[in-house]
């Protein structure tokens, strides 16, 4: 059994990588992919702690896994919406560079 600390460190790294991607990439699709990475880091955390519950209390609790499943489903919907937005942005501006799409400001 892999100790829970490993999972936590792993999911933290995954989250940090995703955050780094969101901050540094200008391509909206890559930003969206990075967000998916961060979401999956959170999912891994949920599943890891769900498994750790059995180690801690002696009986299992599947709610962490159920949350992860919901999260995956919602992420799929989110990707659909996000890609649709990016597609219409591209049609309007002929670019998906987030630095260039900045009309929502003062």
């Amino acid at each position: 059994m892999i100790p829970v600390e490993y999972w936590v460190i792993f999911s933290s790294l995954l989250f940090a990588i995703g955050a780094y991607g969101v901050l540094t990439r200008r391509n909206a699709i890559v930003v969206l992919m990075s967000i998916e990475v961060m979401l999956n880091a959170a999912n891994i955390n949920l599943v890891a702690f769900s498994s750790y519950h059995t180690t801690l209390h002696g009986f299992s609790d599947a709610s962490g896994q159920a949350f992860a499943l919901f999260s995956i489903a919602i992420a799929a919907a989110e990707v659909a919406v996000g890609l649709a937005i990016i597609l219409s942005v591209y049609r309007r501006y002929q670019t998906i560079d987030v630095d260039k799409i900045n009309i929502l400001r003062w």
Binding site: L23, R26, V98, N102, I103, L104, R105, W106
Partner: protein, 669 residues
Amino acid sequence: MLEYAWLIPVFPFLAFILIGLLPKRTLGWENGGGYAIGGAVGAFVLSMLVIWDVLNGKTLTDNSVKTTWLVIGDSVRITFGIYVDQLTAVMLLVISIVGTLVVIYSGGYMHEEGVGRRRYYAEIMLFISVMYGLVIANNYLEMFIFWELVGLCSYLLIGFWYEKPSAASAAKRAFIVTRVGDIMFMAGLIILFKYVGNLDFSALFGQGGQSIVSRGLIPKDMLTLSTLLIFGGAIGKSAQFPLHEWLPDAMEGPTTVSALIHAATMVKAGVYLTARTYPLLVLTPDTLLFVAIIGGFTALLAATVALAANDIKRVLAYSTISQLGYMILGLGAGGYLVIHSQSSGGYTAAMLHLMNHGFFKALLFLCAGSVIHAVGTNDMRLMGGLRKRMPITSITMLIGAIAIGGIPPLSGFWSKDEVLSAVYHSGEFDFTFFVLWAFGVATAFLTAFYMFRMWFMAFSGTPRSEAHAHESPKIMTVPLMILAGLALVSGFALFIGEGFKKFLETSLRLSDIPLLAPGEPGEVASEIFSDPLTYLSLGLAIVGILIAYRIYYLPGFDRAVFARGVPGAFQRALENRWYISKFYDDFAYKVWYGFSIVADMFDRYVIDGVVNGFAYLGANTGNVIRKGQSGDVRRYTSLVVVGIVLLILFLVYIMPWIRGQGDWFGGWS
């Protein structure tokens, strides 16, 4: 009957409401004059019934007829009630007689005013109503309310011809100048109220035999301050120096208004206030001395200005100020007599003078109104020769002039002599009163002179203008004759029954000081005629009349002498009212206007600057901060990440340190 005295002001007030609200075509005779006469006569009849009761020895001073107006906390209860004693009766007599006659006279005098008469009658009825209210009030606060209301009516009626700029500004002047006194009056009341907690006359005048000072309710110094301030109200309302300049300007109003408000009733309110406050004044001799000095000085000052006035109403206005000064002087000196020789001589003399003056000065003003009505001008230089054309007016005015001049047996002589004798006798206790007595005697001389100057200028000689003067209608001359009759006989009040002195003395509810009963009427008379000082003032008055006769009646006197050298300078000073009016104007235009400019600047730049500055600050801050909304998604994200990192660092490292080095995660579970 006395319990119903509160109905007296109700009659004129109803007339005021009716004249003000009735449809135009139901106003009837003289556009509301009928209702006005009805209201005035109703109040007159009730007043006479009340006076009859008072003459029969009944009074209502126990604060029994009242209604609660305000309740503050548990203990303070401000009431509206009535207080009727001999002093009230004297005031009621003057107001009811003069008020009724003036309203009747207005039927003729205001005839040409057209629709303006409705406003005139409504305002004059309101005035009569609140004037009655003023004299029957049973506490200072109630009195103060009516006091302000008579000031309002005075303002409205002085400015009756408000299209005329001089009338509008005279009205404002009267209102503002008297307001200075009113503020002092109110301050005096606040002091009294703070210490005693009650402004009812019955509570303040110590009916139990002990004054509020000896009961320890108020320190003597504070009472002195309070009475001084209350007297400040009298200075404003009764036009005493230095607040006297509004009264001559108030002559811009109709002459009937001058007669009623600015001669016979409202300006007496200050004297009435001083007389009403007597039980407190005699506890504070310093105030009494101040009262006497103001009165004596005003009497002389105003009499000198009247010497050079050419406007018939201004002569009478200055004469009114001068005679009010007499009353105030009599009250001030009378207080010393009360304290030192237990005699009420000055108090009764001053109030007798108030009554007499009410009649003869109303008479003089109404006569002047009759003359103005006939010749259409106020300027005496344009009159002359009216004796033949206006016989009734000339004779009644002559009676008024003799009465005010102090020639026996007309009314003015008795009261003026009593006032002067009271002042002279109080000289034994303070030397100042001898000086004031000399002022008073000089005033008596000047009064006789300027009154006859006025009469000769108006009625004798040949006409100096084209106007075709004619005698006034009966509705105007009959009130003149009634008032002339009163001016002839009202002085004999000293000798009717037990005498005016004994009658009025019972109204003095003095505590700590027992009063000696005044002499019988016979003794009073023999005292007057055995005193050489009587003959001195009488002689001076006759000399004054003779000088006026020489200068203004007999031909051959070169009046150009008044325009040259020392008399010329004197004449110019008098024509400019001793430059007091000019001083006030300069003060207002230069000093006060300068201050107003500074205040305006302060408002414009400091107050508005602060307000505008805050608005400017908000707008600018917004301008700077909105630059943060860059629309750059990656910058927003970076800020979110930095924020979260800082929050985590705070929760993990700073928070446990704040909570006392504890383990944060440990504290969680």
